[in-house]
């Protein structure tokens, strides 16, 4: 098998207010089921030191992470190469239960926006209250950026990680470049 190639080959840009980088392939699994059940909890977190996130939240540690997507859906994140093993574990954990675990790693791209103006660059595109009091690391938001679906969390207080569809990675990257154009400081946060 070839080396996995992410949508934008890991390009980055730092000509504007923030640094924009496409991160390489990342393992992602959509896990649907009864989030209150122990099977789902086990499927999502077994083998990690993570707990289950509440609505609007993500629990992250290194490559691993679990994000709350909807009342019956989680996004489990891991290293790209771990996906098959994790899927196998999940399938085992949910044996006999009504649940779905499916690999979506290649269907997505992850783009990082970092810098002190990261909040305002993202706020130009997403209808989300991104003031430091309202959105903090540990939170996770499914939303849109301009015309496409996106989800993001804060890796630290000045870094966003944005998940978008792979086919739209170029669009999202270019959008962020426009939103970060020099001279477009907002100074709102």
């Amino acid at each position: 098998m070839s080396e996995p190639v992410s949508a934008l080959h890991g390009i980055s840009d730092d000509h504007g207010l923030v640094r924009i980088t496409e991160l390489g392939p990342r393992g992602m699994i959509t896990l649907r089921g009864d989030l209150a059940s122990s099977a789902i909890k086990k499927a999502a977190t077994k083998g990690t030191d993570l707990s289950l996130p509440g609505p609007g939240q993500a629990v992250l540690s290194g490559d691993d992470g679990v994000a709350w997507m909807s009342p019956d859906e989680l996004l489990v994140m891991c290293a790209y190469d771990d996906v098959q093993a994790r899927l196998a574990r999940m399938t085992k954990a949910t044996q006999g239960k009504h649940a779905l675990a499916v690999n979506v790693s290649d269907a997505r791209a992850v783009i990082e926006v970092s810098g002190t103006r990261a909040r305002e660059v993202v706020a130009k595109l997403a209808p989300v209250d991104l003031s430091p009091d309202a959105f903090t690391p540990g939170m996770f938001r499914r939303t849109r950026m301009a015309q496409v679906a996106a989800a993001f969390w804060m890796h630290d207080d000045t870094t966003f990680r944005i998940i978008c569809f792979r086919s739209q990675a170029r669009y999202v990257f270019d959008l962020l470049k426009v939103a970060a154009q020099p001279g477009s400081e907002v100074d709102y946060f």
């Binding site: 779905l100 290649d106 269907a107 003031s131 569809f165 709102y188």
Partner: protein, 1004 residues
């Protein structure tokens, strides 16, 4: 003449001179000037021509309400028409030209219309051009359209960029005058997040010009301290040059920030559209002075009294040497006093009121030696392109001239109207205030939010509170109401105290003089920009346009770019008088956002150029681009239409791709096809409901083609379903259908079958999918090796998982071309590498990529339908001869009941057939087959239409599919299809399967 004064101009930096041009003339101004004040400083009072009569028009106002001062700004990619000079900040190098005249501003041929005014009354166009009917479209309308309009349309692409910004706050204050600032402070003391928007570059609104003292300090000092106090509060954001443009449901407000208009050399976006969610909205939008309706009130030099003192105080500009003030209130006396202090002459104040004793303002004016004429009015204004004097009369008379006073400016004031626009945008109601003769917000009928409570609170002048001391108290109260409404506890602090002004009430004046005859009334303008006069509104009333909304449209009152900011109240008072009803009975027209026009660029935001649309790209997109792909948009995807080689036309490329795929080996990027995983114990039952055919009987390892219908029976999608295991299916959809069908599934699961155990996930983009098609397909895959793709191991309509060339793959033995064909799914991150591997092993097998047009021809030769070609939302599977894919055994499926309705079972529904032209040519797409006779509209009757049509290189002739009345029963009959060029082409009805009807080629 108007000129720059030696002193004054509180907003100017006189050490910073700027140069600009107007109609090519090089002029000078100062930093801090508006274009209007700089033009006045250069004695340029005449700034444009009116819309209809091409009357000379001068500057009337000093702010957003200006109707006349609209110019073409900039050049090339920065050219923009209809820019308001009173709100345009001067910058070095600004270029502007006046509008709506030919050949020049000073001499305009169109002014002949003014002489014809008697023949161009309200509704002129409607009356004049209605007969004869056909002339309207071909003669009248083109001429009228050419003569209409103010500025020119830009021709070059916009050189600037724009953006949006999503902001959230607890209290949004619109307006940075004393009321807005004081209210912001009152709200911010609670800890609420407060955002203050001010449309101008300056804080304090009118107060610094109009004067007064607050807490013993001059009001401008008070404003300065208040702004710096607010700026220091961490929970307060102040934005000037940002207009509150519109208030919408749920506390949604649009703000319009002009970042680059005053400094075009600055990098960054020109405008920013603020998309604000506010807990509560506070409108402190001030008030606008009303003109007085007297004859000749549109002659350049007739200005609002407040504007005259703004130009004197703010910009150190004298609009003229001699100013006659005409008023019905005390406020305009401030203008006379300001002019006097600036050393200018005020020959008289004509006050329409008759007061028992002098008001304090009158006393002050008289003390300065100004002649005050009570009960007097302007009979008419003298002058053409500039005021030369006024004829004075009694307000209560019919205009008999008592004396003439020479002057070059008339400063008029008809009272003040609160800016209720933003209050009204989302449904706030208004009250008529008799004393002040204006509409103000009815605070008991505020716009209602989602919680059933009002979400807008007005403050200050915008609330009809007109005196400084009362404004401050009202602002504190409004600020406390606003923060409480946003969920904070107000921390009360007493309002600062201002010295009461002791104004004597105004007297409404809706016509000057009161008994003006038709001659004067037809020279008394209400709407300057659209040329609507008092006589026009009266005519509208006389002709039965009683509703203010009808009268507005009939006369065009308030329909210009200023949306009637100066004309509305005078207009509806005129209408009320003409109808002999009270003003509140007439009511107002509807206030709609935006408050003043905002740029299209700001609305579009970042969506231009590369990011105009979110184009979707497959993992092999770059390869396609590098190999001659011509793109076809399919949804937001870009798919290769054909791969053109050098020296080839697109048509030749398509023909080559078809022949090569039929003869050798074609590769298609099919990654865009939708792929939806459906899993759960109820998944078989769920799919039986979604598809017309039976899916629950499909065995794991097998594929089946299926049709999906809406609950109305119409075909909405098709595709191949693969059963992965007992509980799991993978449903392929059309390229454009992936998101729609995923949503369709979720909707049924969430609303109707919420208790069924089914999960769905859209995994379309997880896979790169490649169709390997043609006689050499198997050989190519065998060369990659890793799994058995032979006929016995992987028969037609089987699928298998395995590896090929070291890639983990899922292989589907399905065919949309009629050839031996495999569709191979590989993780998207390996898609390009797998494609490359196929090109390598296929090199000597004739491997070539093919595009969507080739795909279409291959499927049409086989008679396979395409969603969107053979279907259009009105077609059911039975129309397409797909009865074999409709299960008779199932009790129900979506669409079953609808398909049993009489018109769905009607044997006269047009049905799918093949069409073969007699001369071998290609039928025009969408062409209709004509039948005998005409329908009720006098059109030819029809009996069928073309749904797909191509040149088939395989058969070397045109082939087509179409829907034809009783088509399948009419094999061999010849139909006539008229072409657009008037000729007719004949085509024979044949089977839609043109190629390999037995299916031998795909099943090898």
């Amino acid at each position: 003449m108007s000129t720059r004064l030696a002193t004054g101009g509180r907003l100017l930096s006189k050490d910073k001179a700027l140069s600009f041009t107007f109609n090519g003339r090089r002029l000078r101004g100062f930093s801090g000037d508006t274009l209007a004040s700089a033009l006045l400083a250069n004695d340029q009072m005449l700034v444009g021509r009116s819309f209809k009569y091409h009357r000379p028009r001068g500057i009337v106002a000093s702010g957003a309400e200006e109707p006349n001062g609209l110019v073409n700004m900039g050049e090339g990619g920065r050219f923009e028409p209809n820019q308001r000079i009173t709100t345009t900040e001067l910058f070095d190098g600004l270029t502007a030209t006046s509008q709506n005249h030919w050949p020049s501003l000073d001499f305009d041929v169109g002014a002949i219309n003014s002489k014809l005014a008697r023949f161009l009354p309200a509704g002129f166009y409607y009356k004049m051009f209605i007969h004869p009917r056909p002339l309207w479209k071909h003669v009248y309308e083109p001429i009228i359209r050419r003569s209409a309009g103010l500025g020119r349309a830009p021709t070059a692409p916009d050189a600037d960029t724009y953006e949006h910004f999503h902001a959230f706050c607890d209290v949004l204050v619109i307006g940075g005058g004393v009321a807005g600032l004081q209210a912001a402070k009152a709200a911010a003391r609670s800890g609420a997040r407060v955002l203050v928007l001010e449309q101008t570059p300056h804080w304090g609104g009118r107060a610094p010009v109009d004067g007064g003292t607050v807490d013993g300090k001059p009001v401008d000092k008070f404003v300065e301290e208040l702004v710096s106090e607010l700026a220091d509060m961490p929970n307060v954001t102040l934005r000037n040059r940002t207009m509150g443009a519109g208030v919408y449901d749920h506390g949604y407000v649009l703000g319009y920030e002009q970042l680059g208009d005053h400094a075009p050399e600055k990098p960054g976006p020109r405008h920013r559209l603020w998309r604000i969610r506010a807990g509560h909205v506070l409108t402190a939008t001030g008030a606008i002075e009303r003109p007085l309706p007297f004859a000749g009130n549109d002659v350049p030099g007739v200005m609002l009294a407040s504007a005259v003192r703004d130009y004197v105080v703010n910009y150190g500009v004298s609009p003229g040497d001699r100013t006659v003030v005409v008023t019905n209130n005390d406020n305009a006396y401030l203008t006379a006093i300001a002019l006097k202090y600036a050393g200018l002459s005020v020959p008289a104040i004509l006050d329409a009121r008759v007061l028992p004793t002098d008001s304090p303002a009158m006393e002050q004016a008289k003390a300065l030696g100004i002649r005050v004429l009570m009960g007097h009015a302007v009979s008419s204004v003298k002058g053409g392109k500039r005021v030369t004097g006024v004829a004075v009369c009694s307000q209560s008379g019919e205009g008999a001239v008592l004396e003439e006073i020479a002057c070059d400016v008339v400063a008029m004031s008809g009272g003040w109207s609160p800016v209720v626009h933003l209050w009204s945008h989302c449904g706030g109601k208004l009250l008529w205030d008799e004393t002040q003769a204006h509409f103000r917000p009815d605070v008991d009928k505020a716009p209602i939010g989602a919680d059933g409570h009002g979400f807008v609170t007005p403050a200050g002048c915008a609330n009809g509170v007109m005196q400084l001391d009362a404004i401050l108290a009202d602002a504190v109260q409004a600020g406390e109401i606003a923060c409480a409404a946003a969920g904070f506890r107000a921390r009360h602090s007493d309002a600062p105290t201002a010295e009461p002004s002791g104004e004597t009430p105004m007297t409404p004046v809706w016509m000057m003089p009161q008994g003006a005859g038709i001659k004067l009334r037809s020279k008394a303008w209400l709407d300057y920009q659209n040329d609507v006069k008092v006589s026009d509104v009266q005519l509208a009333a006389q002709e039965g346009f009683e509703s203010v909304e009808h009268a507005k449209r009939y006369t065009t009152l308030g329909m210009a770019t200023d949306q009637g900011k100066l004309s509305n109240i005078n207009g509806l008072a005129t209408l009320a008088a003409a109808r002999n009803v009270a003003i509140p009975q007439v009511g107002t027209t509807t206030f709609r956002p935006p408050y003043t026009p905002i740029s299209m660029g700001a609305i579009g935001g970042e969506a231009r150029g590369d990011v105009f649309q979110p184009l979707r790209r497959t993992p092999m997109h770059d390869w396609h681009a590098a190999n001659g792909a011509e793109w076809e948009p399919v949804g937001h995807w870009r798919r290769p239409y054909a791969y053109r080689r050098s020296g080839e036309s697109t048509h030749e490329a398509v023909m080559r791709e078809v022949r090569n795929t039929r003869d050798k080996l074609g590769l298609l990027d099919a990654s865009t096809l939708g792929k939806i995983v459906v899993k759960g114990p109820d998944a078989p039952r769920f799919l039986d409901m979604l598809y017309t055919n039976m899916m629950s009987t499909l065995k794991p390892g097998k594929c089946r083609y299926g049709l999906m219908c809406s609950e109305n029976g119409f075909l909405i999608d098709d595709g191949v379903v693969a059963r992965i295991d007992d509980d799991t299916f993978l449903c392929h959809t059309t390229t454009g259908g992936a998101e729609r069908i995923h949503q369709h599934m979720e909707e049924w699961l969430q609303t109707e079958w919420w208790d069924w155990k089914v999960h769905v996930a859209n995994v379309t983009e997880q896979y790169a999918q490649i169709a390997v098609v043609g006689p050499n397909a198997r050989t190519a895959l065998e060369r990659l090796g890793g799994m058995d793709v032979g006929k016995d191991a992987l028969g037609f309509m089987d699928w298998a998982e395995g590896t090929l060339g070291g890639f983990a793959v899922r292989v589907y033995r399905i065919s949309f071309s009629g050839e031996l064909s495999y569709e191979i799914a590989v993780d998207a991150s390996h898609g390009q590498a797998f494609w490359d591997a196929l090109m390598v092993v296929g090199a000597d097998l004739g491997a070539m990529p093919y595009g969507t047009e080739c795909l279409h021809i291959l499927r049409a030769e086989k008679g396979f339908i395409m969603i969107g070609d053979e279907t259009d939302g009105t077609v059911i599977p039975q129309d397409l001869g797909l009865d074999w894919a409709i299960s008779k055994k199932k009790e129900d499926y979506l669409g079953k009941r609808a398909q049993a309705r009489s018109h769905m079972a009607d044997p006269t529904r047009w049905k799918l057939v093949g069409l073969e032209t007699e001369d071998g040519s290609v039928l025009p797409d969408g062409a209709y087959a004509v039948a005998a006779g005409e329908n009720a509209n006098g059109q030819r009757n029809t009996q069928g239409r073309v749904t797909s049509t191509y040149h088939s290189p395989t058969l070397d002739r045109g082939i087509a599919m179409g829907l034809v009345l009783h088509g399948p029963d009419r094999m061999g009959e010849v139909l006539e299809f008229p072409r657009l060029d008037g000729t007719t082409v004949k085509a024979k009805i044949v089977s839609p399967v043109f190629y390999d009807p037995q299916g031998e080629k795909q099943n090898v």
